[in-house]
């Protein structure tokens, strides 16, 4: 038994780096998949909308932990030995895609219909309409909730500790197992998470306030 030393702290910092790596990996992959989900959710074909809606409902109705176990244990059975970080990134990507797809669908659909109709009149193709007319407007609305969701992803990377990927949560568990000073160790881990998440939360709120500038209420 010893005290909490600088070495422990550096170990935690290094693990924080892995948390950030996993967050970025999951978020980038999740954005790509979420974009596809958004396209499917706003598609013209009914069955595409229905199927993607089912996907969103299933993912949003299942705990991320269970998705993680399914991927980690499940894919191993089919002969893919996944490193923990890949399993974690994959399951976070699925989680991300369902939530971001649904957030972005709302943003795309909040762009006034007349914009799409006008583009049709001008003879723009569906893809052109989306790329040049709808998306630029939707992106403005989508930025605050997307940044807000990034906080969720960052927090949820902590679940990767369960399959043994050494990120911040796992690292603090390892240290606590040797020191058994839970208030101190998990307190520091919590503060490190807070230091990452809080600025993002503030940014999301500031962006939202800027967006609603016209409708701002006196505080």
């Amino acid at each position: 038994m010893g005290g909490f030393t600088l070495t422990h702290f550096l170990y935690l910092l290094q693990a924080t780096g892995w948390t950030v790596v996993l967050t970025l990996l999951a978020f980038v992959l999740g954005c790509l998949a979420g974009f596809l989900v958004m396209l499917a959710r706003t598609a013209q074909a009914r069955w595409v909308r229905g199927l993607s809606g089912l996907y969103v409902d299933v993912v949003q109705g299942t705990p991320l932990l269970i998705v993680l176990f399914l991927i980690y244990f499940g894919l191993a059975l089919f002969g893919f030995e996944l490193p923990a970080i890949v399993a974690a990134a994959l399951s976070l990507m699925i989680y991300c895609s369902a939530f971001l797809g649904e957030i972005w669908r709302g943003c795309v659909q909040s762009v006034p219909r007349t914009q799409t109709e006008a583009s049709e009149c001008l003879g723009l193709s569906r893809w052109q309409t989306l790329r040049d007319v709808v998306l630029p407007q939707a992106m403005r609305i989508a930025t605050p909730p997307t940044v807000g969701f990034l906080v969720q992803v960052l927090k949820n990377t902590s679940l990767a500790s369960v399959v043994g990927f050494v990120e911040l949560t796992r690292a603090s568990q390892v240290i606590n197992n040797s020191l058994f000073q839970p208030f101190l160790v998990f307190g520091i881990a919590g503060l490190l998470y807070f230091a990452l998440c809080y600025p993002l939360s503030r940014l999301s709120r500031a962006l939202e306030r800027k967006l609603n500038g016209g409708r701002r209420q006196p505080a």
Binding site: L65, F73, K155, S158, F186
Partner: protein, 227 residues
């Protein structure tokens, strides 16, 4: 490589799954009730005249909303036992859930309260309503009615997040799954079954909240919209 699915191997464990699902629901019920109380008190605290109380409630909400639930569990559960306070695991799990969901509830309820027009409150004051009357009849009830969908959505998410309490071996659905898969060596099937059970619980909870909403908000029932 072909994998042969064998869900039959899980049949002997059906009562374990059922127990786990019931524990998850019980934990959720406790957490919803106490979390709502804490959330409402905290939302009122953030509107209070005392800057200290405002700061304190704001600090609690921001701290919880910006740290992962699993860290909160470890902090509370292992922390309390390190100072000699050994809670039963079920109570500890519910405690962490309440602390967690209380902060989210506070933020949602506060947003609802902010939508109440100041004119309404001034009118109530002019009519001579007492402070508790104003809070209950003019601010809180309409506010809760407006944020009811967001609130219940958060509670469903919390039910799903309660799976994380399996990490301190609270005997809920996910912990049951972990046990069953280690006995039956059928990990994939077990987690598929549990995923389906969670889906069913989520749908059940949504329906229950919808029905309850229709019951306690007559206006929503008659008009189909809140206020």
């Amino acid at each position: 490589m072909r994998y042969q699915f064998d869900f039959g191997a899980l049949l002997p464990y059906w009562s374990d799954f059922l127990d786990g699902a019931l524990t998850t629901l019980t934990m959720t019920a406790f957490a919803v009730v106490f979390g709502l109380v804490i959330g409402i008190l905290c939302a009122i605290g953030r509107r209070s005249a005392s800057p200290l109380l405002q700061r304190l409630c704001g600090f609690y909400v921001e701290l919880i909303r910006n740290t992962p639930y699993i860290i909160q569990i470890f902090f509370i559960f292992f922390g309390l036992s390190s100072i000699g306070l050994r809670l039963p695991i079920f109570a500890a799990a519910v405690l962490t859930l309440v602390v967690n969901v209380g902060a989210y509830t506070a933020e949602i309820v506060r947003a609802g309260m902010d939508t109440i027009h100041p004119g309404q409150i001034e009118a109530a004051q002019a009519l001579g309503l007492s402070q508790p009357q104003i809070y209950w009849d003019v601010i809180l009830r309409p506010a809760l009615e407006r944020v009811y969908p967001a609130l219940t959505g958060q509670f469903v998410l919390m039910m799903l997040a309660s799976s994380i309490t399996s990490q301190i071996s609270a005997e809920e659905l996910t912990a049951v799954a972990n046990n069953v898969q280690s006995f039956s060596f059928r990990a994939f099937e077990t987690y598929i079954v549990v995923a389906v059970l969670y889906l069913a619980l989520a749908v059940l909870l949504k329906l229950a909240f919808y029905g309850f909403g229709q019951l306690i908000f007559p206006r929503r029932r008659r008009l189909g919209t809140p206020l």
